[in-house]
């Protein structure tokens, strides 16, 4: 197993671990802001997975300047998808935080258990 191969798996493992760290934060933490932080980590992990698969050995970013036509380029498609996904992520986050702000204003807390007790 050469180093690049190891790195290949390592990328996926980091993806899996970060994904689960994110998911754990979302499920197990009761602070709403912390949940959202977890959510953004969770989504970032997916970005890593997609970007990992775009890499080609010896490739460069898919920008075909004059005279480079013969070169090897990495796959542009996952990059496009993730560009979209990043923006989706920040949009969700903004909406979530707006809700958290309103929750704090109405309940005076952003801890889930205290909110449940209040109703």
């Amino acid at each position: 197993m050469n180093l690049l191969e190891l790195l290949g798996y390592f990328n996926y493992w980091v993806f899996a671990i970060v994904l689960m760290v994110g998911l754990y934060t979302v499920i197990a933490k009761i602070n709403l802001v912390k949940k959202l932080i977890g959510l953004s980590i969770f989504q970032s992990a997916v970005f890593l997975m997609y970007i990992t698969m775009d890499k080609v050995e010896g490739g460069t970013a898919p920008i075909i300047l004059k005279g480079m036509e013969g070169n090897v380029f990495s796959n542009p498609l996952p990059q496009v998808l993730i560009l979209t996904a990043i923006v989706v992520g920040v949009s969700t986050l903004a909406l979530g935080l707006a809700i958290v702000v309103r929750i704090y204003e109405s309940y005076g807390t952003i801890e889930e258990d205290e909110i449940l007790d209040a109703d």
Binding site: M53, A85, T92, Y107
Partner: protein
């Protein structure tokens, strides 16, 4: 110029592009009128396509003129057309009926944004239904989700906020799971177009990532579709959202997720793997059955009328999942028909509740006692839709229940158990619907309505229209049924 070939695109872009313009319509009532007009137009588009499709047409559309799989393809067949009818119909109906209700729950200066979000939700759901591209489905899923979070957050009670937060978190997890699954499939096949995936997935040697992908996609979409036991976000979200939003979303939001779930599974996985059919049913059938039983049982003891019906939605989703999990033509027909019929019944019920809410602030069941005396028309419509939910003959609900039991009878040695569970839950549905009807009609009033008389006329008319549709489609179900069986044929055609 002839717009017919552009219909699939127009279905999405008309409501979507109208949304920003709606925000600008500040004067009172104008935003409502604009949004309603757009929603009706969408419904007309959907109806137009549905009629052509029941005559055997199939719409395909290359976005940007780029042929699939390089560009994004839209594809509208029988199944998507059925979903589009439900989505646009629910959106248009709720808007038409809901002006007074929305006025009473959303402040005037926030209304343009509310209506814009409404149209975005419509566009997102329609976008999911027409799309034939796995990633594009994700994008539109997010549009519809974000817009629905906004709509639900408009609920007047502060409890709407934790409810919508929960929905947001679980919805995002679901969507992300779906994204992971799509990524894995893409990794192994190199494509995002569903038809192309179907063609290429069979050639994949290393099956593990595909297996994991199927798991992620199924779980992610099950979360979005509120399949038991992943439904925990649903009851509160439906209970505390503005009444008209409940009408809209209860009728169609989860169904679109089910649509994607069924479509993805049948198109991409079933056709390629012999074992996938049994995996699919052995995973989803228990969930469907459990959902039917548990949610119905919980609904019987719910005290809040909206929560009660929300729990009943979870049970009804169980029926749809159950039908699909048979992996037969009959089962899928039953599922598709139930998608439609349940939307009719639940939409009608929530409309009637919105009408009740015009005079009753507190929608706990015991507070609604005797409401039939001051609101006889509303109560009668509610009873009709309730019976449709139970599956009383002569209503739309009966048709799908018939089909479902008929399909279940083919399920080998355990058929009787399936039938027993379906019947048991029908009886439970009868119990909770009857509880509502009896409370409205026979119990002495506890609270006096805030003002006497019926709900606003337009709301009442639309509610009755839906109630009559429940009867109409119970007696003459050919149109939805044709679409449903064509949809099942399409899905099973892929599975063969």
């Amino acid at each position: 110029m002839d717009l017919t070939p552009h219909l699939p695109a127009l279905q999405v872009i008309v409501p979507m592009l109208s949304a920003p313009l709606i925000v600008l319509l500040k004067p009172r009532g104008l935003a409502w009128a604009g949004a309603t007009a757009v929603a009706l137009l969408s419904f007309a588009v959907a109806l137009n396509m549905a009629i052509a499709i029941s005559d055997g047409a199939h719409y395909r559309y290359d976005m940007g003129g780029w042929a699939a799989p390089y560009g994004i393809e839209l594809s509208v067949g029988a199944f998507s057309s059925l979903i589009l009818l439900i989505v646009t119909g629910a959106a248009a109906t709720a808007l038409l009926a809901g002006r007074a209700s929305i006025d009473s729950q959303i402040e005037p200066d926030r209304q343009p944004m509310f209506y814009a979000a409404w149209l975005l939700a419509l566009a997102g759901l329609a976008g999911i239904a027409v799309s034939a591209d796995a990633f594009n489905i994700f994008v539109f899923m997010e549009i519809s989700s974000l817009a629905s979070y906004v709509l639900i957050a408009g609920g007047p009670n502060r409890r709407a906020l934790p409810a919508v937060f929960k929905y947001l978190v679980m919805g995002t997890i679901g969507a992300t799971f779906y994204l992971i699954g799509v990524g894995l499939v893409y990794m192994m096949t190199g494509t995002l177009n569903l038809a192309d995936m179907e063609a290429r997935v069979g050639a994949v040697d290393d099956i593990n990532p595909i297996l994991v992908a199927a798991g992620f996609i199924t779980i992610g979409l099950a979360l979005k579709a509120a399949v038991f036991p992943l439904h925990v976000w649903l009851p509160n979200a439906y209970t505390h959202s503005p009444h008209m939003v409940t009408v809209f979303l209860a009728a169609c939001a989860t169904k679109v997720a089910i649509y994607v779930l069924i479509r993805f599974d049948f198109f991409v996985f079933q056709s390629n793997f012999d074992w996938h059919g049994s995996h699919f049913s052995s995973f989803l059938m228990p969930l469907g059955l459990l959902g039917i039983l548990v949610a119905s049982a919980v609904a019987m003891f719910e005290g809040h009328i909206k929560r009660l019906l929300a729990m009943s939605s979870v049970a009804q989703i169980g029926y749809i999942i159950l039908g699909a999990s048979f992996v037969t033509q009959d089962g899928l027909t039953a599922s598709a028909a139930h998608l439609f019929n349940h939307a009719l019944a639940k939409g009608g019920l929530f409309l009637a509740i919105a009408a009740l809410a015009c005079h009753y602030d507190d929608l706990r069941l015991d507070r609604l006692a005797g409401a039939a005396r001051s609101m006889p028309w509303t109560s009668a419509a509610l009873a009709i839709c309730g019976f449709s939910l139970v599956g009383v003959p002569g209503t739309a609900g009966f048709i799908s229940k018939w089909l479902l039991i008929d399909a279940a009878l083919d399920q080998g040695p355990f058929a009787w158990l399936l039938v027993l569970i379906i019947l048991a839950s029908s009886l439970m549905a009868l119990a909770y619907v009857w509880r509502i009807v009896e409370t409205l009609y026979k119990k002495p009033a506890v609270v006096q309505p805030s003002s006497a008389g019926e709900a606003p006329l337009e709301l009442l008319l639309i509610t009755w229209l839906i109630a009559l549709a429940n009867i109409g489609f119970g007696l003459f179900p050919q149109f939805p049924l044709n679409l449903a069986s064509a949809a099942a044929e399409l899905l099973m055609g892929h599975a063969l």
